[in-house]
C-alpha cells in the first residue's frame, strides 16, 4: 500500500502543476480549480492508505481516528460558509486569514515533530532535518502573526497607518538575530528542548513587529510576500518529512507569491526593501497640501448628458469602487450605455484596488465580460480616441505626476493615460488625495469634471438620469 501511495502522490503533484497551468486563461481556469481539488483529495486518501505501521515501514493503520475526523469536520464546517458568505470585496482579508491558517499548521506540525522525535533525536533530528525544521517553524510562526496583522489592517480593525518609532529597524534586526541564533543552536543541539518555546515566541513576536511599520495600503504586497513564506514553510516541512509532494506544492506556492509581489512592486515602481522598511504611506501624507487650485465639478444630470453624447467611454475603476461596493451598479451603467450604442471598455491598472487583479474579480462578479477588461498597456493607446474617461474611485493610478514630476513619490509608476481622453470625469467623495497622499493634477485640467459623491450612490443617480433623458 505504501507504494500505491507514492504513485498517488506523483499524480497529485502533476494535478497541482496542471492546476496552475490552466490558470493562464479564464476559459481553462475552472478546470484548473477542479484539478487542484482532485489533487488534494487524492493526496489525503493516499496518505490514509499508505500510513506506515508501528515499525515505520509497511502497511499500517491510522491511529487517533476521533481526533482526525473531528478536525476534518470542524475544518469543513468552518470552511464552507467562509467560501460562500465572504463578499468579493473582502477577498484580500480572506487571503490573509488563510495564509495565517496555513502557516500556523506548518508551524504546529514542525513543533509536534520536534517533541515527538526527541527520544530518537540522534537519528531522526540529524542536522539537515533540524535545519529544515527550524526554517519551517520560524517561517510558520512569523507568517501566522504577520498575516493576522495584515488581515487586521485590511479589515480596518487595526490602524491603517504605519506605526513607527526610533531605531525600529535596529530593534527588529536584533530580535531576528536572537531568533536566528536560537535556531542555529537548536539545529546543532536538538535536545535543548527548553529553547524551543523561546524560539517560537520570538518568531511570533517578530511577525507582529515586521508588519506594524507598514502602511495599510501596502498590505497587498505584504500578503504576496507572506504567501511566499507560507509556501516555503510547507516546503521545509517536505524536507523534514522527506515528502516530495510537499516540497513541490510548497515550491509552487513560494514562487507564486514571489512573482506576484515582484509584479506589484514593478507596477508601483518600488523596491521590496522600500515596501518592507519604507513606512511609505505616512511620510507622504503631509506633503498633500498645496496652494488653492481651481477645478470644475458637475451634477449627475450634467454627467449623464456628457455620457450620452459620447460614442466611446473608458471606465477606470479603483480602490474607491471596492470600498463603495459599487460593482453591480457599474454593471447597470455599462448595460445602459451599451444599449444606447456607446462603446464601453474598462481600463484596469495592475495595482488598482487592494490586491493584484482585484478589480478584475469585482468586475467579473458583476458579470462584465472579461474581454471588456483591458490591461493598462493595451488600453493606453485608446485614450486619445476616446470621448469620455470615467474614473470611479481611482486616484493614484491616473495621476499624470507619475510621468512628469521627478520629485513625486509615485514618479516612474506606469499609469493609465486618462488625461489624454477628450473629456475626463472623476467620481470621488472629496478632493482628498489617494494612498500616496499627493495631489492629482488630473483634477485641475480644463477638460476634467469632478463628480462628488460615494461611487455607488453617484452611479445610481447617473443611471436614473440616463433613461429620463432618452424619454425627453
Amino acid at each position: 500500500m505504501a507504494h500505491l501511495t507514492q504513485y498517488i502522490y506523483i499524480i497529485s503533484a502533476a494535478l497541482f502543476i496542471l492546476s496552475l497551468k490552466w490558470m493562464n486563461h479564464p476559459a481553462s481556469s475552472r478546470r484548473g480549480v477542479i484539478a487542484g481539488g482532485l489533487g488534494m483529495v487524492l493526496a489525503i486518501l493516499g496518505t490514509f492508505i499508505g500510513f506506515p505501521g508501528a515499525d515505520g515501514v509497511g502497511i499500517g493503520f491510522v491511529h487517533n481516528w476521533p481526533w482526525i475526523i473531528t478536525a476534518f469536520v470542524i475544518g469543513t464546517v468552518v470552511g464552507v460558509p467562509i467560501a460562500y458568505i465572504m463578499p468579493m470585496t473582502a477577498v484580500p482579508q480572506r487571503t490573509a486569514l488563510s495564509h495565517a491558517c496555513g502557516a500556523l499548521a506548518a508551524a504546529l506540525v514542525g513543533t509536534a515533530e520536534f517533541y515527538q522525535r526527541q527520544p530518537h533525536a540522534e537519528t531522526e533530528l540529524r542536522a539537515f532535518i533540524m535545519v529544515a525544521l527550524v526554517i519551517e517553524t520560524l517561517l510558520g510562526y512569523l507568517t501566522f502573526t504577520g498575516s493576522l496583522m495584515a488581515m487586521g489592517k485590511l479589515q480596518e480593525v487595526l490602524p491603517q497607518r504605519p506605526i513607527t518609532y526610533r531605531n525600529q529597524n535596529a530593534v527588529n534586526f536584533l530580535l531576528f538575530a536572537i531568533a536566528a541564533g536560537l535556531a542555529i543552536r537548536l539545529a546543532i543541539v536538538p535536545t535543548d528542548t527548553f529553547l524551543f518555546p523561546i524560539f517560537a515566541a520570538l518568531a511570533l513576536l517578530f511577525g507582529v513587529l515586521l508588519i506594524i511599520p507598514i502602511g495599510g495600503a501596502d498590505m497587498p504586497t505584504v500578503i504576496a510576500i507572506l504567501n511566499s513564506y507560507a509556501g516555503l514553510s510547507a516546503c521545509a516541512m517536505g524536507f523534514v518529512l522527506n515528502s516530495r509532494l510537499l516540497v513541490v506544492a510548497g515550491a509552487l506556492d513560494g514562487s507564486s507569491g514571489l512573482i506576484l509581489s515582484i509584479i506589484m512592486c514593478k507596477a508601483m515602481n518600488r523596491s521590496f526593501t522600500n515596501v518592507l522598511f519604507g513606512a511609505f504611506g505616512q511620510v507622504q501624507m503631509s506633503t498633500g497640501k498645496a496652494e488653492q487650485r481651481t477645478y470644475r465639478s458637475a451634477s449627475a444630470e450634467e454627467a449623464a448628458s456628457v455620457l450620452e453624447a459620447a460614442s466611446s467611454v473608458i471606465i477606470v475603476p479603483g480602490y474607491g469602487l471596492a470600498v463603495a461596493q459599487a460593482q453591480h451598479k457599474i454593471r447597470e451603467l455599462y448595460d445602459s450605455l451599451t444599449r444606447r450604442g456607446v462603446d464601453v471598455k474598462f481600463g484596469i491598472h495592475p495595482v488598482a484596488g487592494r490586491m493584484p487583479g482585484h478589480m478584475n474579480v469585482l468586475m467579473a462578479e458583476a458579470d462584465i465580460p472579461y474581454d471588456k477588461l483591458v490591461e493598462m498597456d493595451e488600453i493606453n493607446g485608446d485614450f486619445p480616441q476616446c470621448d469620455v474617461a470615467l474614473v470611479i474611485g481611482a486616484n493614484d493610478v491616473t495621476n499624470p505626476k507619475a510621468r512628469t514630476d521627478k520629485g513625486s513619490p509615485i514618479y516612474g509608476m506606469p499609469i493609465l493615460d486618462v488625461d489624454k481622453a477628450r473629456t475626463v470625469m472623476v467620481i470621488k467623495r472629496s478632493m482628498n488625495p489617494g494612498f500616496a497622499g499627493i495631489d492629482n493634477d488630473l483634477y485641475y485640467m480644463d477638460k476634467t469634471l469632478m463628480l462628488f459623491g460615494d461611487a455607488k450612490a453617484f452611479v445610481s443617480e447617473l443611471i436614473k438620469e440616463l433613461p429620463a433623458r432618452v424619454a425627453a
Binding site: 479564464p26 480549480v33 488534494m40 464552507v80 506540525v109 509536534a112 504576496a224 507569491g257 474579480v361 458579470d367
Partner: protein
C-alpha cells in the same frame, strides 16, 4: 547513493523553476484567484498534519497540535478551493443572460 536531502534539493530546484515558469504565464485577469488557489494547494501540509496526529506513538502534545493543524488546513482546503471556484466561475466572455 544520494541522501534524502540531496534528493529533496533536486526536486525543490525543479519545482521552483517550474513554478516560476508557470506562474509567470498566468493571466493578470486571474491574479486574485491565483493567490487563493496556490494558498489552497499549499494546504497540502495536511499530509504532515495527518502523519503527526495519526502516528502510532503520538504523544498528547502531538495529538493536540496536530488536531489544530488539521482543522486549520482543512478550513483552508475547503474554503480555498470553493472560493476560487466561485471567483473563476464569474469570468465570462459573452454575457449569457439577456
Amino acid at each position: 547513493m544520494p541522501t534524502d536531502l540531496e534528493l529533496e534539493l533536486f526536486v525543490f530546484m525543479l519545482a521552483t523553476f517550474l513554478g516560476l515558469e508557470i506562474i509567470r504565464k498566468v493571466s493578470p485577469l486571474l491574479h486574485t484567484p491565483l493567490m487563493s488557489l496556490t494558498n489552497a494547494i499549499s494546504a497540502i501540509s495536511v499530509v504532515g498534519a495527518i502523519l503527526v496526529t495519526g502516528a502510532a506513538g503520538a504523544t498528547f502534545l502531538s495529538k493536540v497540535l496536530g488536531f489544530i493543524a488539521i482543522t486549520a488546513v482543512v478550513t483552508n482546503i475547503v474554503s480555498g478551493f470553493l472560493i476560487t471556484d466561485r471567483m473563476v466561475k464569474m469570468f465570462k466572455r459573452r454575457e449569457e443572460k439577456k
